[in-house]
Symmetry: C2
Amino acid sequence: MARRGEFALIEALFAPLAGADPRALGLADDAAVLGTEGMGDLVVSVDCLVSGVHFLPFDPPESIAAKCLRVNLSDMAAMGAKPVGAFLSASLSPTLDDAWLEAFSRGLRVDLEAYALSLLGGDTVSTPGPATFSITILGSVTPGGALRRSGARVGDDLWVSGTLGDGALGLRVLQGLLFGMPEAHRDHLIDRYRHPRPRVALGMALAQGELATACMDISDGPLADAGHMAKASGVALEILAPLLPLSDAAADLVADDPALFDLILGGGDDYELIFTAPPDRREAVMAVGRETDTPVTRLGRVVTGEGARILDADGAEIALARPGWSHDE
Amino acid sequence: MARRGEFALIEALFAPLAGADPRALGLADDAAVLGTEGMGDLVVSVDCLVSGVHFLPFDPPESIAAKCLRVNLSDMAAMGAKPVGAFLSASLSPTLDDAWLEAFSRGLRVDLEAYALSLLGGDTVSTPGPATFSITILGSVTPGGALRRSGARVGDDLWVSGTLGDGALGLRVLQGLLFGMPEAHRDHLIDRYRHPRPRVALGMALAQGELATACMDISDGPLADAGHMAKASGVALEILAPLLPLSDAAADLVADDPALFDLILGGGDDYELIFTAPPDRREAVMAVGRETDTPVTRLGRVVTGEGARILDADGAEIALARPGWSHDE
């Protein structure tokens, strides 16, 4: 299997992603150097994706690169931060040849350009195990303006961006566990699994407009993550099942097999934002949704108590077979 | 094998390493938030260590944790930066049980405290492969004051901190390839392999005093890294073999087996600083060495040309069997 050595790899595939960004120092020094004058607060997040755990080994390398970056961008969105640069720590398994790595680099370049970001640094090593990509992302936000999980207040509305469950359903399609749907639905679900849409513009607008009292991204499933927000905020969150935003593909599948509803609430890989805002900001929230071209749906409310609950149209709690889900359990 | 789930792991073992540092947000949010007022330039580095590649699976977990952090701190030293916080991306193999992880966390805590650092965030995932730890470290430096590899000028002296080759020799001792030396020498070499001494105070002093024209840390071996500095600076570096600083343990081994000299020049894992400074700053360099309790040795000079060469006492070039060395080749 032809593969360049570490230095040649960095020079050929990763240094071009730093472009002419002077902060990256050509990926040739021991670190990147960034001026902080006027930066505001620095927001830093790290996410690690392992082949076979967080993506499928046969996913296209371009998609894997995009997913690695976007999962991190989703954390910036969750904090309302503007992304300023990314670092890639790549542990490469021996099965990845030059062609694979070139495709990975190409996918990363497309996504970096789409978000106006440079690769500012990182590390490239060999591993006898599965390919593992850990991305560190830096963002900036007005001093004191970062969105947090802990600010939800009783009486607030609960909102979510986009649609729910598509990522988890897409993974099942790729695993051969779900089939028989129209081609367009199948493509939609797979695309949502492979290509999360980090809601960076929405997060920034929610932070800048001081609209959201709490915000986070959904990576462990909407119910589990709503539970995390409820805990951090010292409140309870109620999600009204009929208000859940579903794609046509997801709605069709659930209509055929209502048991899939558990997967939609408990599955991960959506990377949508869940956030709370006071009821008197409803119009403003809808407006930033329109301005950032991001669907936003009010799906519940903040009440006293603890935990997250899902209620049916009559207000009765729906019990899930598998309420939480984690990549690691 | 008993092991906690991801959330319990973070809460039990990693959140305490964030301590009461408000920037970490208790490791419970999507990112860390750091004020940048008065921070100067932000210096960011990422290093990834894979079990069986960058450390030995049977190394004590406390030592592995220390090495992961120190290798990153060495990058801060190389830039002359003051470390301000660390992020840990941990891919945990199934063989690591709670006891191992507790020891790892303990080792990381001791080192973080020694360098007055907090763990500000990270990610914890499962991998079917070898344990992989990627640390991102943030540092700060006076605006424009970061040390670089590219500033070496013809006529400068070439300096190095500490002693050379101990790390590479220590690895061979642990691999059973070197034996028969006195117990104290054996312990010294193993300790240097497992516990690099990042020269943070020296790096900061060289930057603050504007003494070094170029600086980097030695991770691929002194000759290879001198070559990197020569290339970045557009000069040649000459290392005088008789001036190489060796520990008693290394000197004894080389006296017995002169072939080990290649390993000392070509082996990695030293994490000492190699730097250049004008001849009229010799006294000042010696002074910061004393002030920071760091041995510094003048071992060569910057000349016109390209590449790095090692010369004997008569000025003749010594050819090495294996001039460069990389973890990944």
